[in-house]
């Protein structure tokens, strides 16, 4: 009885951990505190790419029209009444004030474009706008003069192969993001047996900490990302020490722990909503990059995309090597094989498990930061990724690091390539179906060992 009570008191420190999390994030502005209305507008600078490939020329006298709209997943769902219109000045700049923050659609009136200037992609004539509070929102229309429009169009809107190549590239980036999260989930499952549903909130936590440092404290994004990487690890390790470790000591079953992780996920998810609000926001830096670093065939690579790929691959390969070469890595694998055997060879199992939480949390944060960099940050981003991460881990095999990486890449590429045949809004369905089919025929995954299915 005495031990049960002690364990009970220890698990009270959960509250302590949660308060710590609250402490770190309490510094974020709540959506409402920063709310000052007024100043919302849609802005764009209309520039056309000339034939000779030199600097872009401003387009004067072209009209843009703003409508009310409903936007879902950054696609325009429906368009409502007209809000206003504006005409570009000599520098190509045009700004249309908005009645307040919200969702709008901006149309470029192509009849008002000067002779010879064309919109490169006809399907990008109307763009979605998610106007943020108190600041103008910028949109970009891709314009070109004469022959350049044709050339640019050849690059953007045509052959299946070209589209496939581009989707492949985006899929690889997305796959690395999923792979990082998947390895975080898989490491934790491997050493503790816990299917951690709070992964989705580990993701949001990492992205929000980076947002806090970059967009609120104004620290350079690279520094902010590195800080968030470590805070992600620390946050997860703190939850392990404050909650999971006492629960393990108490002998709480894995199913109970899985449900507790769901409770933790719900609590944190709505706490992040409480702090951050419903709106999606970008990081202060690198949100919009237009300068192409280089092109591989039809694929234009932005600097931030190259950075995500390079850093992502380094992190994944580093983890794989670290697990095999370093002393801690070997200890982690030993604990994953058998808790008791590892303990009897003198390994401090608790310390190893907490380290796994640290490494897992840090890797998940890296994935989250990249995801936020590539699109935007919002309180549901973890939910958007969670099931795809499960799919990746199931595909590769629960508890294997290599499997999680490969599974992540396969799911990422598959999700994007699926849009060649199905509507973009259904792209996740394919990945989830793949997961179910894998479970049907090879439940241990591609790289998993059969005994893991129990």
């Amino acid at each position: 009885m005495a031990t049960t009570h002690a364990a009970g008191r220890r698990s009270l420190s959960i509250v302590g951990v949660l308060l710590c999390v609250v402490g770190v994030l309490g510094l974020l502005p709540s959506a409402s505190v920063s709310a000052q209305s007024g100043g919302e507008a849609v802005e764009t600078t209309l520039l056309a790419k000339p034939d000779d490939g030199t600097e872009r020329d401003p387009v004067e006298g072209a009209d843009i029209i703003v409508y009310e709209a409903v936007i879902v997943d950054r696609e325009i769902e429906s368009i409502g009444t007209e809000i206003g219109r504006g005409t570009s000045d000599a520098t190509g700049f045009v700004s249309v004030p908005l009645p307040g923050p919200g969702e709008y659609a901006v149309e470029l009136d192509i009849d008002t474009l000067p002779e010879g200037v064309e919109l490169v992609r006809a399907d990008k004539q109307v763009l979605p706008v998610d106007a943020r509070i108190g600041q103008p929102t910028r949109v970009l229309f891709n314009l070109a003069e004469g022959g350049a429009a044709g050339a640019a169009r050849d690059k953007t809107s045509d052959s299946l192969l070209t589209r496939a190549a581009r989707l492949m590239f985006e899929g690889i980036i997305f796959g690395l993001i999923i792979g990082l999260c998947a390895i975080g989930l898989s490491l934790i499952y491997g050493t503790t047996g816990l299917v951690n549903f709070a992964l989705s909130e580990q993701i949001v936590f990492g992205a929000l900490v980076a947002y806090f440092f970059n967009s609120i404290l104004g620290i350079n994004f690279v520094v902010a990302a590195i800080l968030a990487f470590f805070f992600g690890g620390l946050g997860s390790a703190a939850v392990d020490i404050g909650m999971w470790r006492p629960l393990r000591k108490r002998g709480t079953g894995l199913t109970a722990m899985m449900i507790i992780s769901i409770g933790l996920a719900l609590f944190l998810r709505f706490f992040f909503l409480f702090l951050f609000g419903e709106r999606s926001r970008p990081y202060e830096q690198y949100a919009v990059q237009t300068d192409i670093l280089f092109s591989i065939g039809p694929v234009d690579v932005l600097p931030k995309e190259l950075a995500i790929i390079v850093v992502g691959v380094i992190l994944l390969v580093g983890t794989a090597i670290g697990l095999r070469r370093t002393k801690m890595g070997k200890a982690m694998r030993a604990v994953a094989d058998s808790n008791d055997l590892a303990a009897s060879t003198g390994i401090d199992v608790d310390r190893v498990v907490t380290s796994v939480w640290f490494v897992g949390g840090a890797l998940v944060s890296a994935g989250a930061i990249f995801f936020g960099l590539n699109s935007q940050i919002n309180w549901l981003m973890g939910q958007q990724l969670l099931l795809l991460v499960f799919a990746a881990v199931t595909l590769g095999g629960l508890g294997t690091d290599f499997g999680a990486m490969v599974g992540g890449l396969v799911i990422g590429i598959f999700t994007f390539m699926a849009t060649l045949v199905v509507a973009p809004e259904l792209k996740n369905v394919g990945a989830l179906l793949v997961m179910i089919v894998i479970l049907l025929f090879r439940p241990q995954g591609i790289f998993g060992r059969p005994e893991r299915i129990g």
């Binding site: 709540s30 299917v195 709480t252 449900i259 409770g263 719900l266 909503l273 409480f274 809004e425 439940p443």
Partner: protein, 337 residues
């Protein structure tokens, strides 16, 4: 602080249509998890299939409402079979992951714009269940009930009273069915599967068949919840069927007590009483300027009450997994390692 309205609103939430929907879904989850040890994290898939079964049959195909209700129930049975076939032979975690994935797949498909001719896309389907109110024996526009001691507001519109009568009748019937079943030999087999699957197999029981029956039956209560939701709202909205609904219903079931007859029902009532009480108190505090805006605004009340749900689920599982009425030895959470 207007305590009369806070208490009235909380009480009314406890017997509201929402509580009925949660009670039905939780009765199903209780049969799955409480009695059989099956981890169904996709109860919302059954709800969605029931709701859309009614909506599509009546609205898109133009059939009468009672046909739609039967189609909805059958669709739930089909879903149970499809879910069970690949997963019931595997470890519990896999059923959990597949069911949660199927729930999300269904939501994504019904809200897809490409299928909006059939499912209404993100707008859902509306106005297909008018005949439900045509069957109402009460006066639709009248008011029934009274105010207890001039304080507790127990007045309901005729339409509400009809919905509540039908809903709570369904809940009572479901409780009766579960009670008869779990007291039968069939129920004892379910419990033996929960305690030790291998032992049940060794005694010659076809474990897979019993698990499948439990999944289908428990899912049918979820389907019934979805159908009631759709008919009562006269509308189906895809985003009402997000994955977290299952976890809310699970919280309600655990709160009342798993593997008990009345646990899920009492749990659902309490769940809504607590949610409504928190919401009403916070709103009163904010409106009376007791709570400074710097800490919380009205728009933040919603998130806070769901934070409370998460916290409740965590604390219950840590400190009192048997909930209010449950027996700790009956909870299938520590045996499974």
């Amino acid at each position: 602080m207007d305590w009369n309205s806070i208490i009235s609103n909380s009480f009314r939430s406890g017997i509201s249509q929402q509580a009925i929907i949660f009670a039905l879904a939780a009765i199903g989850l209780n049969l799955h998890f409480g009695y059989t040890g099956l981890l169904n994290f996709g109860q919302v898939a059954f709800m969605a299939v029931g709701a859309y079964g009614v909506g599509i049959t009546t609205n898109t195909l133009g059939a009468p409402l009672w046909v739609g209700i039967i189609v909805g129930l059958l669709a739930g049975v089909v879903l149970g079979i499809l879910l069970g076939l690949p997963t019931l032979r595997l470890k519990a975690d896999y059923l959990a992951i597949v069911t949660i994935a199927v729930g999300e797949i269904i939501r994504l498909i019904v809200r897809a714009a490409v299928l909006s001719d059939t499912t209404g896309g993100s707008n859902g389907i509306n106005g297909f269940a008018n005949s439900f109110q045509n069957w109402n024996p009460f006066n639709n526009t009248g008011t029934y009930g009274f105010r207890l001691f001039d304080r507790l507001n127990l007045e309901f519109s005729g339409a509400d009273l009809w919905e509540l009568t039908v809903g709570w009748t369904l809940v009572l019937l479901s409780v009766f069915v579960v009670w008869r079943l779990v007291k039968s030999p069939w129920g004892r087999v379910l419990r033996s599967i929960r305690e030790d699957e291998d032992a049940a197999t060794a005694l010659g029981k076809d474990v897979f068949r019993f698990k499948m029956q439990s999944l289908i039956l428990g899912g049918s209560f979820g389907t019934l919840a979805g159908i009631f939701y759709a008919v009562q709202q006269n509308s189906v909205q895809p985003d009402n069927y997000a994955t977290q609904q299952t976890f809310f219903a699970l919280t309600a079931a655990i709160l009342g007590g798993l593997a008990t007859i009345w646990g899920p029902v009492i749990g659902s009532m309490l769940f809504w009483i607590i949610l409504s009480f928190t919401e009403n108190v916070l709103i009163e505090l904010i409106d009376n300027d007791i709570m400074p805006d710097a800490i919380m605004e009205r728009s933040q009340v919603g998130p806070v009450r769901f934070m409370l749900v998460g916290l409740t689920l965590m604390l219950l599982m840590i400190f009192r997994p048997q909930g209010i009425f449950g027996d700790k030895r009956e909870i299938a959470i520590d045996a499974r390692k």
